[in-house]
Symmetry: C2
Subunit: 309 residues, 2 copies
């Protein structure tokens, strides 16, 4: 089901990385470390300049970055940005070689992933649906988890780059959309767990419990989740500098609602969780760390949490 990372056998391939944010920069760095010739591109000129100063190559547009590339790795936030990179003005579809592969890592509705793949494949290029998870540090170490699906040719073309970026590569199906669907199931759970952790820890504080003891007890008990364990230290420290922002789950739980409504499948638990992220964004914390949902509960209810003035 997954492959250990291995040295690439096509270390001279040329890769374009579109999007040099915290994830994309680390992925581009991992690709360079594995021996690829990497051209970076970003809407922020500073990010490109930094990448060039580190020894990479820079490009002014996706089209320019993709010229002569065998592999394009797209590391942007959503479906709209992915579509613009592919088919917008100065998009990669203008220049990308026939038989090259476009690796899309944005989290999106599986239906849109299928549509983008179909549209690109009609032009003779390959599309790999490959959402990522693992955070900036693991991106920089080449130790992401990648949830990939696509045709055999797309996998074959992409594999050396995937091996350079991922510690775990799940191969989840032979068409675009499957990777996206697995990622959305993960995001449903992750979002609910952050909202539940926030509800629980703020309610515990309201009852006068020592929330450091709550953290100790819960992480050793059946109520634990990966997100409780990972995010609640931000609440204990009163530190809401964004590692991952509230707006990410406004987006991802929103996609879940759209998918579920289209499928006539009720998802009331994740619908409630989405409202809590929305309420947190509405209170002005959309760009803060997603553990800010706990701060929103505390503010609404007049409950004191660490870091309050």
């Amino acid at each position: 089901m997954f492959r250990d990372r291995q040295m690439s056998s096509s270390a001279t391939s040329r890769v374009a990385v579109i999007g040099l944010g915290s994830m994309g920069y680390g992925m581009a760095t991992s690709l360079r470390r594995a021996g690829f010739e990497v051209t970076g591109c970003d809407v922020t000129a500073d990010a490109v300049a930094r990448f060039v100063a580190d020894g990479g190559k820079g490009a002014k547009s996706p089209a320019e970055a993709a010229r002569d590339a065998d592999i394009v790795v797209s590391v942007v936030v959503n479906a709209a940005q992915t579509e613009a990179i592919l088919f917008g003005k100065d998009g990669v579809a203008e220049t990308l070689a026939k038989d090259a592969v476009f690796i899309s890592s944005a989290t999106m509705d599986p239906d849109i992933a299928r549509r983008l793949a179909k549209q690109l494949e009609a032009t003779g290029r390959h599309y790999l649906d490959a959402p990522i998870s693992g955070g900036a540090q693991r991106a920089a170490q080449g130790e992401l988890t990648i949830l990939a699906s696509g045709g055999a040719a797309a996998f074959a073309k992409a594999r050396p780059a995937l091996d350079a970026m991922a510690a775990k590569l799940y191969e989840l199906g032979d068409a675009a959309g499957q990777g996206a669907a697995f990622k959305m199931i993960n995001q449903l759970l992750a979002g609910v767990h952050i909202a539940a952790a926030s509800e629980a820890i703020a309610f515990a504080a309201k009852q006068g419990l020592d929330i450091r003891k709550v953290y100790e007890v819960i992480t050793a008990s059946a109520g634990n989740s990966w997100m409780f364990e990972n995010r609640m230290p931000h609440v204990l420290d009163g530190d809401y500098a964004p590692r991952s922002a509230v707006e990410i789950f406004v987006k991802d739980l929103g996609i879940i609602q759209d998918m579920a409504r289209n499928a006539r499948f009720p998802v009331p638990v994740s619908a409630a969780a989405l409202q809590m992220f929305l309420m947190t964004a509405a209170a002005g914390m959309g760009r803060d760390d997603d553990a800010s949902v706990a701060r929103m509960y505390a503010q609404v209810t007049g409950t004191k949490l660490p870091g309050d003035k």
Copy 2:
């Protein structure tokens, strides 16, 4: 914060265990193994007969079991049963020695735990608020987690029995109610996580994903929870024989709603989860395994899960 189990230094103490269900029977067995003289009592005569056949002593009522006991361990489902065992007809308060300790393990509203403690302490006995977690197997092995709070005298009296029953003993405060409050926070999270896991896996099945692959991916990803990992195998196997029943979370998330409403603290995520347990109970699965929430989602939406005819 917690003590490793150690051999009791008062191995000749007499303990009454009220409630010989799957948890109580195991706890009574662990106490006997540690050298206590244990008298068991249960509303089901068969359970008492089995305990006597195993070498324990039996009693016909809580009052009879508690006569001459130094420690009473109450292992029943809720606050109402606990109150009946304490103060009802043939309750332990009729016979229990002055200075003995009553260890209450039922999950209940902290306000009720405080009231019962106050009422018993007024008669010269000690009350230890000591909810448990860990399941039947760990009960039988003397490896429960116990979330305890109470006065110093209650802890001193109870400690040999706690050491015999628990692998982890959390000492969470010097008055009844704190243990109950920590347990309720755990139950809030546990209940939401079961409902979210059920929503996610049924939605994944609806999208045509291989739910065994979903299990493999999620348990290695940020969407994981203790409950997802523990309960979803029941869905994969189509096996809803009750390890823990839907009705337990109807009760526990109901207590959360009562506590939160009294505290004027909104808990929308756990409120949504409670509705899913209620819906599952309404569909006739209240006594089935709590992973039946996934079956409810599947039935409502016409989604096929393993084990369906």
